[in-house]
C-alpha cells in the first residue's frame, strides 16, 4: 500500500498535531493538516488527499462550507470526507451507524482505533 495522504482540517492546532502523530505512527500514512477552512481547501485541491478529516464548526470558513466547495470541484468531489465533530453525540452516531444522510461522522473525542479502522475501511473501498 503506497503512502496514502490524509488531510486533517481542524481549527485546533494541538488536535492537528496529535492526530498527525497518531495516524502517522499507525501506518503508512502522510498526514497534512490545516487549521483554517480556506487553507484546507487549498491543500485539498493541490495535494488531492485520499481522505479528508473535516471539523464542522470552525471560525471563518466552516466545515460544511469546505465540504460544499469540494463537492463542487470534480477534482475533489470524490474524496471521502469523515466529519469529526463535537456537535453530534456519540450516541446518535452510534444509533445511525456513523452515517447520517450519506455522510460519515465521528464524534469527538476521537477514539483513535475507531478512526483508524474507519480510515482503513474507506481506503480499502477505493
Amino acid at each position: 500500500m503506497r503512502g496514502k495522504v490524509i488531510l486533517v482540517i481542524d481549527d485546533e492546532e494541538d488536535f492537528c498535531r496529535f492526530i498527525k502523530k497518531s495516524i502517522e505512527s499507525n501506518g503508512a500514512f502522510q498526514v497534512l493538516t490545516a487549521t483554517k477552512g480556506s487553507e484546507g481547501m487549498r491543500l485539498a485541491k493541490t495535494q488531492k488527499p485520499d481522505i479528508i478529516l473535516l471539523d464542522i464548526i470552525m471560525p471563518g470558513m466552516a466545515g460544511t462550507e469546505v465540504a460544499e466547495e469540494l463537492s463542487e470541484d470534480p477534482l475533489t468531489a470524490t474524496i471521502p470526507i469523515i466529519y469529526l465533530t463535537a456537535i453530534i453525540s456519540k450516541e446518535e452516531i452510534r444509533k445511525s451507524g456513523g452515517v447520517i444522510c450519506g455522510r460519515i461522522f465521528m464524534a469527538k473525542p476521537i477514539v483513535l482505533n475507531e478512526l483508524l479502522n474507519k480510515i482503513k475501511t474507506l481506503l480499502s473501498h477505493t
Binding site: 485546533e12 494541538d14 488536535f15 496529535f18 492526530i19 502523530k21 497518531s22 505512527s25 464548526i57 469529526l84 463535537a86 456537535i87 453525540s89 456519540k90 450516541e91 469527538k108 473525542p109 476521537i110 477514539v111 483513535l112
Partner: protein
C-alpha cells in the same frame, strides 16, 4: 207642845216626826261625810295627776316677774324655786331666745284677757339641755282686774317623739306605697286573691279592691294561665308525695293583663302558706314588673339566636375554651373540621388533643400572650383530626373575661388545606416557569458549551491515547493514563447530555399512540428489567387518541424515568414498576393524556423535591449526569405538557407526565 190640850195621841205623833227628822239629819251628816271623802279622793287624784301630767305651774305678774312656781322646776330644769322666784322671766335664761320672744308676746296677749292654749316653747335647763314644753296661759283675775298670768306647763317630749315617729312611719309607709313597685299578695288554694298590696295599682292599674274581685283567669293571659295551672298541678303532685321542701320558693315569669288592655311580664317569687299541721292552705308571693327586662331579654335572645345561626352558618370554626384548654363550646364547623361530634364535648375535649405535639409549646406560648391581653394575629398550627389525620389551620384567638377575671379563650380557626393546595399549585407553576426559564437559558448555551468542552477534551483524549500506545511506558503510568481516560469519558457524557437541551424540531413530530410508544420502550427494556428483578405492571387506558409528538424524545423521557426508577429500587426487596395511562378530558380546552410512572423505591426526599428537575442535580454521585430529568422536563414542556413528581403514600415515587391532546407545537428549535 205646850198646849195641854194635846192629846196623848197627838204627842205620840209628834215624837214619830221628830225621830224621822233625827234620821234625816243623821243621813245628811253621812252624806256630807261621803261628799267630803269624795272631795278628798278627788283632790288626791287631781294632785297625783297634776304631779304626774304637768311639769309645773307658775305665775307671772304684769312685770313679767315669776310670782309663784311649783317646786317641780327643780326636777324639770334644775333650778331651785328661790333661784327663780320674783325674778323677771326674760332674765332667767330658761327659754331659748326665739321661745322667749314668743312667750313675752303671749304673756302680753294673756294680760289683755286672751287665753293662750298649747303654745310650744323650748326651755333651757340649768345644765343647758333643751326641753320642749307645751304651755297654756290663763289670766289671773281679781276683783275684775287682770293682774297676772297662770302658766301650766306640760311635758310633750314623749308626744313629740311619738308624733315624729308617726310622721316618719307615715312617710315611710307613703314612700313604700308610692314607690314600691313590688306587689305582695296572697291567694287561697282556688287561686283567688285574698290580699294584695296597694302597689298593684301602680303595676297593673287595678285597685286592691278590684283585684280581690277578680278570678285568676282575668288576671293572666291564656298562655300564662296555662303555665301557672301546669306548674301548680306539678307542685301539688310533689306535695302529695310529701318529699318536697315546704320552704321551697318558686320563681315564675308570667304575663299579666293590665287594666288598660296591655300586658305586663311579671316575675313572681311564690311560696306556700301552711297551717299548724304544715298543710298547704294558700300561696303568697312577691311580684315584680319585669316587662322591660323581659323585652330586653327577648331582644337579646333574638339577637343571640341570630348570631348563633350566623355562627353555625359560617364556614369558619369557632370555639371557646377555659384556661386549661378544655373546649367549652364550638360551632358545627369546628366539629366537622376536626372530625368530632358535639357529644365528644361531654366526654371532655382538650384543645391540645387537636394540635400536633410539635406545635404544643408554641400554642401554649401564644395562649399565654393572648391571655395577657396582647394581640398575636393569626397563628398557623398543624391540626389533628379525630381519625389522626393532620391538616394546617390558622388560629385567631382573644381572651374571655368574666367580671374582670380571665376565664378562657375564644377563637376562630380557618382550615388552610385548600389554601395550601392552591399555594402549592401556584408554587408548582412558579417552579415550572422557573425551571422552563432555566432550561431555556441552558438550552441556549448548552450546545455551544458542549462543543467548546468537547474540542479541548478531544485533544486531551487524543494526547492520552498517543501516550497509551507507547510501548515503553511503565505499567503504573499506563494505569494512570487509563484512569484519566475514564474521567475524560465522564466529561464527554456530561457534554453530550448538555447538547440535548437543543429543542425538538417540528420535523420530527408525528401523530403517535402513546400506549404503543410506552409498550415499545418496555419491550426494549424488558430483558434488563427482568435481570434487575423488577416486576412490571401496566394499566393502559384503551383507545387513547393519537397525539402529535416527537416519538424519539418521548421515548427518551420514558427511558430516563425507567432508569431512575430502577436505580431507586436497587436496594429494595419488592421492585414494582407501574406505568399507567389515562385521558383527562375535562373540557375541550383541557384535554390531555397522563402517563404515571411509579416505583417502589426510596422515594424523593422532601428537600430534594424542588431540585430534581434542575440540571446537574443528582443523588447518584458519580453515576448520573444530573441532566436526565431536566432534559425530560425540557422535552415534555416542548410538547406543551407538564411533568412533576410526588412521593407515594406507601413508599416510592411517581412521575406524572401530562401531554395535551390538541396542541400547536412550538417550533422554535435552536
Amino acid at each position: 207642845m205646850n198646849d195641854l190640850s194635846k192629846t196623848n195621841e197627838e204627842l205620840i205623833k209628834e215624837i214619830s216626826v221628830l225621830k224621822q227628822r233625827i234620821q234625816e239629819l243623821e243621813q245628811l251628816v253621812l252624806d256630807h261625810k261621803k261628799a267630803e271623802e269624795h272631795l278628798r279622793e278627788s283632790e288626791t287624784r287631781y294632785r297625783l295627776a297634776f304631779e304626774s301630767t304637768y311639769d309645773g305651774i307658775f305665775t307671772v305678774d304684769r312685770n313679767f316677774n315669776i310670782s309663784s312656781i311649783t317646786p317641780s322646776i327643780e326636777t324639770q330644769l334644775g333650778y331651785k324655786v328661790e333661784e327663780v322666784i320674783n325674778r323677771p322671766i326674760q332674765d332667767l335664761g330658761i327659754l331659748t331666745p326665739e321661745s322667749l320672744t314668743r312667750a313675752i308676746s303671749d304673756v302680753i296677749q294673756v294680760l289683755s284677757g286672751v287665753e293662750i292654749k298649747c303654745a310650744v316653747y323650748e326651755f333651757v335647763a340649768k345644765d343647758g339641755t333643751r326641753k320642749i314644753r307645751e304651755v297654756t296661759g290663763t289670766p289671773i283675775i281679781r276683783e275684775g282686774k287682770i293682774f297676772g298670768v297662770t302658766a301650766v306647763v306640760r311635758d310633750i317630749t314623749e308626744r313629740k317623739r311619738i308624733e315624729k315617729a308617726l310622721a316618719e312611719s307615715e312617710k315611710k309607709h307613703r314612700f313604700i306605697t308610692e314607690k314600691m313597685t313590688d306587689v305582695v299578695w296572697m291567694q287561697d288554694m282556688n287561686l283567688r286573691t285574698v290580699y294584695v298590696s296597694p302597689s298593684i295599682e301602680a303595676v297593673l292599674g287595678f285597685t286592691p279592691e278590684e283585684r280581690l274581685a277578680q278570678d285568676v283567669h282575668e288576671q293572666l293571659t291564656p298562655a300564662s294561665m296555662f303555665i301557672a295551672l301546669d306548674v301548680l298541678a306539678k307542685e301539688l303532685a310533689l306535695e302529695k308525695d310529701g318529699q318536697s321542701d315546704p320552704e321551697r320558693k318558686l320563681i315564675l315569669e308570667l304575663e299579666y293583663c293590665h287594666k288598660d288592655g296591655s300586658t305586663r311580664w311579671i316575675e313572681n317569687i311564690i311560696s306556700g302558706i301552711r297551717d299548724d299541721q304544715g298543710v298547704l292552705t294558700g300561696l303568697h308571693g312577691v311580684s315584680r314588673d319585669i316587662t322591660k327586662r323581659h323585652k330586653v331579654e327577648q331582644e337579646l335572645r333574638k339577637s343571640e339566636q341570630k348570631y348563633r345561626e350566623l355562627v353555625d352558618f359560617l364556614p369558619i370554626s369557632l370555639y371557646e375554651m377555659d384556661t386549661k384548654g378544655n373546649i367549652i363550646s364550638g360551632n358545627p364547623e369546628i366539629f366537622k373540621t376536626f372530625g368530632y361530634v358535639q357529644d365528644d364535648l361531654k366526654k371532655g375535649l382538650n384543645v391540645f388533643q387537636l394540635i400536633s405535639p410539635q406545635d404544643l409549646d408554641r400554642a401554649v406560648e401564644t395562649a399565654l400572650i393572648v391571655m395577657s391581653g396582647k394581640r398575636t394575629g393569626g397563628t398557623e398550627y398543624t391540626g389533628i383530626r379525630k381519625d389522626g389525620s393532620t391538616f394546617p389551620f390558622l388560629n385567631n384567638a382573644s381572651r374571655i373575661t368574666h367580671e374582670g377575671e380571665i376565664v378562657g379563650l375564644r377563637g376562630a380557626i380557618i382550615d388552610l388545606t385548600q389554601q395550601k393546595n392552591t399555594e402549592k399549585k401556584l408554587q408548582n407553576t412558579r417552579e415550572q416557569l422557573i425551571q422552563a426559564e432555566k432550561l431555556a437559558s441552558i438550552g441556549l448555551l448548552s450546545a455551544g458549551v458542549a462543543h467548546e468542552i468537547l474540542n479541548p477534551l478531544n485533544i486531551i483524549s487524543l494526547g492520552l491515547q498517543l501516550l497509551q500506545n507507547k510501548a515503553t511506558l511503565p505499567p503504573d503510568v499506563k494505569e494512570d493514563i487509563r484512569i484519566c481516560m475514564t474521567h475524560v469519558s465522564r466529561i464527554v457524557t456530561i457534554a453530550e447530555s448538555l447538547k440535548q437541551f437543543s429543542r425538538i424540531s417540528g420535523k420530527e413530530m408525528v401523530m403517535a399512540d402513546l400506549n404503543d410508544v410506552i409498550a415499545n420502550v418496555l419491550m426494549l427494556y424488558s430483558t434488563q428489567l427482568k435481570i434487575d428483578g423488577i416486576e412490571i405492571e401496566t394499566q393502559y387506558q384503551p383507545d387513547l387518541p393519537a397525539i402529535f409528538m416527537d416519538k424519539e424524545k418521548i421515548e427518551q423521557v420514558l427511558v430516563d424515568l425507567i432508569s431512575n426508577a430502577t436505580a431507586a429500587m436497587a436496594e429494595k426487596e419488592k421492585k414494582v414498576l407501574r406505568i399507567i395511562t389515562r385521558r383527562n378530558a375535562l373540557t375541550e380546552d383541557h384535554d390531555s393524556l397522563m402517563i404515571v410512572v411509579s416505583d417502589t423505591g426510596t422515594g424523593i426526599k422532601n428537600e430534594d423535591m424542588p431540585k430534581i428537575f434542575d440540571p446537574f442535580f443528582t443523588t447518584r454521585q458519580g453515576k448520573g449526569t444530573g441532566l436526565g430529568l431536566s432534559i425530560s422536563y425540557g422535552i415534555v414542556t416542548d410538547h406543551g405538557g407538564k411533568i412533576w413528581a410526588e412521593n407515594n403514600k406507601r413508599g416510592g415515587a411517581s412521575f406524572m407526565i401530562e401531554l395535551p391532546v390538541r396542541t400547536v407545537v412550538k417550533n422554535d428549535s435552536l
